[in-house]
């Protein structure tokens, strides 16, 4: 009210978004899997992280699977490539959360694995640990999970810095999607448009 600004990222706005989807589902019989990652923050900062995660997590827990607004800041006034990479990481974490876990029937579970590991004096090196670890865990691309000393030794990289490097790497290695002949045909149409006197 103070700034007459549209704020799509407030808790109230998130509630209204879900309310709208619920009413639409009731009327049409079809649940919309659309969800959002909105923020009114102007930079990839703590406010952006909080608002985008709140919005996406609520949507995902309510069944949302199509997420809009990645990379967008100040609602839709600014685009940040680093924010887009961070948003994707947040969403990837949420996807892992939503996927839940496999519950193994324990009735026929033996204690052999525990006994074997105790004999070897290590659970870490046991084949089942390695196998289950790879299946059960989500591996972040830019979020850091190292303890302090190891992280400092690696140059203490920040999340935005890692997102920035990832952006540069992706942009420089991505090739056009069309062959030269099709691009040339597109260029002819575009060149005519350029000469329209705009």
């Amino acid at each position: 009210m103070r700034y007459a600004a549209v704020n799509f990222s407030s808790p109230e706005s998130i509630l209204l978004l879900e309310l709208g989807k619920e009413v639409a589902a009731h009327l049409t019989g079809k649940f919309s899997a659309r969800s959002a990652m909105r923020t009114i923050a102007k930079a990839p900062d703590a406010q952006a992280a909080c608002e985008k995660t709140t919005c996406a997590l609520m949507g995902a827990l309510r069944g949302g699977r199509r997420f809009m607004d990645l990379g967008q800041l100040s609602i839709d006034e600014i685009f940040s490539p680093e924010q887009m990479v961070i948003d994707r990481e947040i969403l990837s974490s949420i996807e892992r959360l939503i996927n839940g876990f496999e519950f193994q029937d324990m009735e026929n579970l033996t204690l052999n694995t525990i006994k074997e590991a105790l004999d070897e004096k290590s659970f870490l090196a046991h084949s089942t640990t390695v196998e289950q670890f790879k299946k059960a865990y989500w591996f972040p691309q830019i979020f850091d999970r190292r303890m302090l000393e190891v992280w400092k030794t690696a140059g203490a990289p920040g999340v935005i810095e890692k997102a920035h490097d990832s952006v540069q790497d992706k942009i420089s290695n991505q090739e056009p999607r069309l062959d030269e002949l099709t691009i040339s045909k597109l260029n002819k149409v575009y060149d005519r448009a350029c000469k329209s006197g705009w």
């Binding site: 199509r66 997420f67 607004d69 680093e82 496999e102 999607r177």
Partner: protein, 186 residues
């Protein structure tokens, strides 16, 4: 082996949804909508269930209900797993080198479309190339999207603007070259 997932199910009750819908119908029937376009007013005046008082148009509940119930949504598009939509032709960008906010350019459009494509993202063009004349910005957003992305810009998440018939014609012509869908959009 069974799967364990957590979710939120509680929300509105059926009674609350029905109440909201009925009150919305009542607002459209008794308060109506302001319509200033004379051609639209003329067209609406010939419809059953529509009352026009100067520029205020009121719709009978049965008519609104009929059209709401006949809506269909292409929900099957992009139905496999998670899909992510990046950007909606933002006019500004955070510069990769300086970290400052500035107007987006054609170079940004190319680079950011490539970036989104590397992650398989769908939707509209990430930024609007403000260094081009207005109508050409809209044409360039399609050209660059189709050159540099396998999934942008097409389908239900494409909302790139086409503000004139002339722009729409060029975009349509390009859509035929690349065999992509064309729609007027929102």
């Amino acid at each position: 082996m069974s799967k364990v997932n957590y979710n939120i199910k509680e929300g509105l009750s059926e009674k609350q949804i029905r109440q909201m819908y009925e009150r919305a119908l009542e607002i459209i029937e008794e308060i109506g909508l302001e319509v200033s376009h004379k051609g639209i007013l003329q067209t609406l005046s010939q419809e059953d269930g529509v009352k026009i008082e100067k520029s205020r148009v009121k719709f009978d509940s049965w008519l609104v209900d009929k059209y709401v119930m006949s809506q269909s949504y292409p929900m099957n598009e992009f139905s496999n797993g998670y899909k992510i939509v990046s950007g909606a032709y933002e006019q500004n960008v955070i510069d990769l080198d300086t970290g400052k906010i500035r107007e987006a350019t054609l170079k940004d459009l190319v680079e950011l479309t490539k970036l989104a494509d590397s992650y398989g993202m769908v939707g509209s063009a990430p930024v609007r190339p403000m260094d081009l004349p207005g109508p050409l910005q809209e044409i360039a957003m399609y050209k660059v999207s189709w050159e540099n992305s396998s999934q942008k810009a097409q389908g239900i998440f494409d909302a790139n603007p086409k503000s004139s018939l002339e722009v729409a014609n060029y975009v349509y012509e390009m859509s035929k070259v690349v065999n992509k869908s064309f729609s007027i959009g929102i």
